[in-house]
C-alpha cells in the first residue's frame, strides 16, 4: 500500500478523531484512524460491534449526528478535504461522488413511495433530466443490478419486495449517479447467505465495470475473504492491523486478528467448543491503560498494560499495532 503514490488514492482518511461529547464524558469512538482507499479497490474494515467502523464511514459522509464531531485529522477525497466543505458542497458530493448502502434493506427505503420514484429522486437531485428520462434510466439501473421484471418493479412499494430485492434497489440507488466511492455498511448482514453471495458478486461486478472504489464495513470475515482487496482490522476506535487479503488469512499477526480468525467455525476442526475472545469490548469512556486490547489478550506482557503500541510495519503491505512486532520481526 505504502509504495503507491498519493495520486493513486481516491480517499485518504488521515488520523481522524471522531468524538462523542456526552454528559458522562467524551467518547473517542474513532481515535486516530488512517485509512487509504485506492481507485477501483475494495477495502474491508473489520471489527466487532462498537469498534468505530460505522462512525468512520459517517465521518466521511459528514452525516454525524450531535453530539458526535470529527475533532482532528483530515479526510481527503480526490484532493479535497471533506472536513472543510460547507453543508451545501457536502450535499452535492453525497450521492453524486460518494454514496452509501445501509445495513437494513427493510428500513432504508421510505415505505410511502414506490422504489422507482425513490431511485428517480436520487437521479434528479444531481442530474437535470426529465421524468421520463429518469424513469428509463431507473429501469436500466434495475436491470443492471439484477432486478427481474424491472418495469413492473418500478411501481412496487418497498414492502412488496423481498430483502434481497430491496438491497438491490438500494445498491441501484447508490450507484445511480456512478459515484467514485461506495460505502457499504454491512450490506449483507440482514440477508441470507445465498442472497449475500449474489449481492457481493453484484458489487464486485459493478466495481469492475465502473471502477468504483468500495469501502466495505463488515464484521463478517467470510465477506472480507469473498470480496476485499485490502483489510483494516479495527478495535475500540483504532486500527489494529492492516494488510492485504491473502496475508490476513495466511498469517494474521495481531492477537486480536488471530482471535477473530479462530472464532470462525470450521467444519473439520476436532475441537467441539468454538473459540471466543474472552471479555468484552471495553467501555470507551474507561479505556484500559496501555494497549486497548491488553485486558483480553493472551499474549499481553507487562509493557502492554502501561504503554500504548504504535502501528509497526512488518512488511510493505502489512502493519500491526502490537509490541510483539515492535522490531519488525514476527
Amino acid at each position: 500500500m505504502s509504495e503507491m503514490s498519493n495520486e493513486q488514492f481516491l480517499l485518504k482518511i488521515n488520523n481522524i478523531k471522531t468524538h462523542f461529547f456526552t454528559k458522562r464524558g467524551i467518547v473517542p469512538a474513532v481515535d486516530g484512524v488512517t485509512i487509504e482507499i485506492p481507485y477501483g479497490k475494495i477495502i474491508g474494515i473489520v471489527g466487532e460491534s462498537g469498534c468505530g467502523k460505522s462512525v468512520t464511514s459517517l465521518s466521511v459522509l459528514g452525516l454525524l449526528q450531535r453530539p458526535g464531531k470529527t475533532v482532528e485529522g483530515s479526510i481527503e477525497f480526490n484532493g479535497r478535504n471533506l472536513l472543510q466543505l460547507n453543508k451545501a458542497q457536502m450535499r452535492k458530493l453525497r450521492g453524486n461522488e460518494i454514496s452509501m448502502i445501509f445495513q437494513e434493506p427493510m428500513t432504508s427505503l421510505n415505505p410511502v413511495y414506490t422504489v422507482g420514484k425513490q431511485v428517480s429522486e436520487a437521479i434528479t437531485i444531481h442530474e437535470n433530466i426529465s421524468k421520463e428520462e429518469a424513469k428509463s434510466k431507473v429501469i436500466e439501473i434495475f436491470k443492471n443490478v439484477g432486478i427481474p421484471e424491472a418495469e413492473k418493479r418500478f411501481n412496487a412499494y418497498p414492502h412488496q419486495l423481498s430483502g434481497g430485492l430491496r438491497q438491490r434497489v438500494m445498491i441501484g440507488m447508490a450507484m445511480s449517479c456512478s459515484p467514485k466511492l461506495l460505502i457499504a455498511d454491512e450490506p449483507t448482514t440482514a440477508l441470507d447467505v445465498t442472497i449475500e453471495a449474489q449481492i457481493l458478486h453484484l458489487m464486485r461486478e459493478l466495481r469492475d465495470k465502473n471502477h468504483t472504489s468500495i469501502m466495505m464495513i463488515t464484521h463478517n470475515l467470510g465477506v472480507v475473504a469473498e470480496i476485499c482487496d485490502y483489510v483494516y482490522v479495527m478495535y475500540a476506535g483504532k486500527v489494529m492491523e492492516q494488510t492485504d487479503i491473502n496475508e490476513l488469512f495466511e498469517k494474521p499477526c495481531h492477537p486480536y486478528t488471530e482471535g477473530l480468525m479462530r472464532s470462525i467455525p470450521r467444519i473439520h476442526s476436532k475441537n467441539t467448543r468454538l473459540y471466543s475472545i474472552k471479555g468484552v469490548v471495553p467501555n470507551l469512556l474507561k479505556l484500559p491503560k496501555g494497549c486497548r486490547f491488553s485486558p483480553r489478550c493472551d499474549k499481553a506482557t507487562k509493557k502492554c498494560f502501561t504503554q500504548e503500541p504504535e502501528l509497526y510495519k512488518i512488511d510493505n503491505n502489512h502493519s500491526v499495532r502490537c509490541f510483539l512486532y515492535e522490531n519488525g520481526v514476527r
Binding site: R91, G95, S99, F102, S108, N110, V112, S176
Partner: protein
C-alpha cells in the same frame, strides 16, 4: 370451533400479493374499519348527513331562523314548530339547522389552520432539534400551561368577539398539541435508515421534511384531525355560551343554550335541543376519530 373453520376458508381465499399490497394502504384500512366498526361507520354517515344539512340549510329549515314572532313566544313542540319556539318566537329547529353551519365551520377551519401550523412547527422542531426545538417546544408549553378555555377567553376579550377572532383564538390554543405529536413522530422517524439514506444521496433538509417525514406522519394527523374537531366545536359552544363567541342574533348552538337557560324550568326544550345537537356532533366526531385511530394505528390493535 367456528373460528377455526372461518380461518381455513380465509386461508383458501388468501391472495398473498394483493393482501400485502392492500394491508398497508390507508384506504384499505378505512374500508376495513367501516366493515368491522359499526359505531364509527354510523358516526361517519351521521357526519355526512350533518354536513349536507348545513350546506343546504335553507332547504331543510322549515322557517326563517331570524324571523321574530312575538305572538308565539316559548311555544312547546307542535306540528308547525317541531321543537317549539324561543323567547322571541323564532323556530328552534330552524335555528339548530342554521347553527350547524357555525359549528361545522368552527370545527373544521380553525382545526385545519392549527394543524397546518402545528405540523410545520412540529416537523421543524423534531427534525432539526437543538435550539430551534427548544424555542418551539417552550412556546408550546406556554400555550399548554394555560387552561385552553381561559386562554381563548382572554384572546377573545382582547381582540373582540367575532367569528374571525374566534378562529384566531381556537388556532392559537390548538396548534401546540399537534406540534407535540408531529415532533415526536419526526424525532423517531428521522432516526430511521431511509432518512439517513435520503441524506446520503444528497436530499435537502426541506425536501426530507415535507416529502419523507410528512407522508409518514399522515395517518396520525388524520386521526388527530377528527379528534380535534369536537374539541373546537365544544370550545366554540363554550365561548358563545359565555358571551364571547358568536354574537346574537347569529344562530350558534352555544348561544342558544345560553339564551335557553333562563327558561330551563318553564320551557326546557329551548336549551336542551341545541345542547343535544352539540352532544351528537361531538360524539359522532369522537367515535369516528376513535375508529380511525384503531384502524390506522397498528399499536392499538389487539
Amino acid at each position: 370451533m367456528s373460528e377455526c373453520t372461518e380461518t381455513v376458508t380465509e386461508i383458501e381465499e388468501y391472495d398473498i400479493e394483493s393482501e400485502i399490497a392492500e394491508n398497508d394502504n390507508i384506504f384499505y384500512k378505512i374500508k376495513n374499519m367501516i366493515r368491522t366498526n359499526k359505531v364509527a361507520a354510523i358516526s361517519g354517515l351521521l357526519i355526512i348527513f350533518i354536513i349536507i344539512v348545513a350546506i343546504f340549510a335553507p332547504v331543510f329549515a322549515p322557517h326563517d331562523p331570524y324571523a321574530i314572532d312575538l305572538l308565539s313566544r316559548l311555544k312547546g313542540p307542535s306540528a308547525e314548530h317541531l321543537l317549539g319556539t324561543d323567547e322571541l318566537g323564532r323556530d328552534v329547529l330552524s335555528r339548530i339547522i342554521y347553527g350547524s353551519r357555525v359549528s361545522l365551520f368552527v370545527g373544521l377551519v380553525p382545526t385545519l389552520l392549527s394543524m397546518i401550523i402545528g405540523t410545520v412547527l412540529g416537523l421543524i422542531s423534531g427534525y432539526f432539534g437543538g435550539k430551534i426545538d427548544f424555542v418551539i417546544m417552550r412556546l408550546a408549553d406556554v400555550v399548554l400551561a394555560f387552561p385552553s378555555l381561559l386562554l381563548a377567553m382572554v384572546i377573545m376579550y382582547t381582540l373582540g368577539a367575532s367569528t374571525f377572532n374566534l378562529f384566531i383564538a381556537l388556532t392559537i390554543i390548538n396548534w401546540a398539541g399537534t406540534a407535540r405529536v408531529v415532533r415526536s413522530q419526526a424525532m423517531s422517524l428521522k432516526e430511521k435508515e431511509f432518512i439517513e439514506a435520503a441524506k446520503s444521496i444528497g436530499v435537502k433538509d426541506s425536501v426530507i421534511m415535507f416529502k419523507h417525514l410528512l407522508p409518514n406522519c399522515l395517518p396520525s394527523l388524520i386521526v388527530l384531525f377528527t379528534t380535534n374537531i369536537p374539541g373546537a366545536i365544544l370550545s366554540e359552544a363554550n365561548l358563545s355560551f359565555l358571551g364571547v363567541g358568536a354574537q346574537p342574533p347569529e344562530a350558534s348552538w352555544g348561544l342558544m343554550v345560553n339564551n335557553g337557560k333562563k327558561f330551563l324550568f318553564t320551557n326546557p326544550i329551548v336549551a336542551l335541543a341545541p345542547g343535544i345537537a352539540i352532544l351528537i356532533i361531538v360524539l359522532t366526531f369522537n367515535f369516528l376519530g376513535d375508529g380511525l385511530r384503531d384502524a390506522i394505528d397498528p399499536y392499538m390493535k389487539e
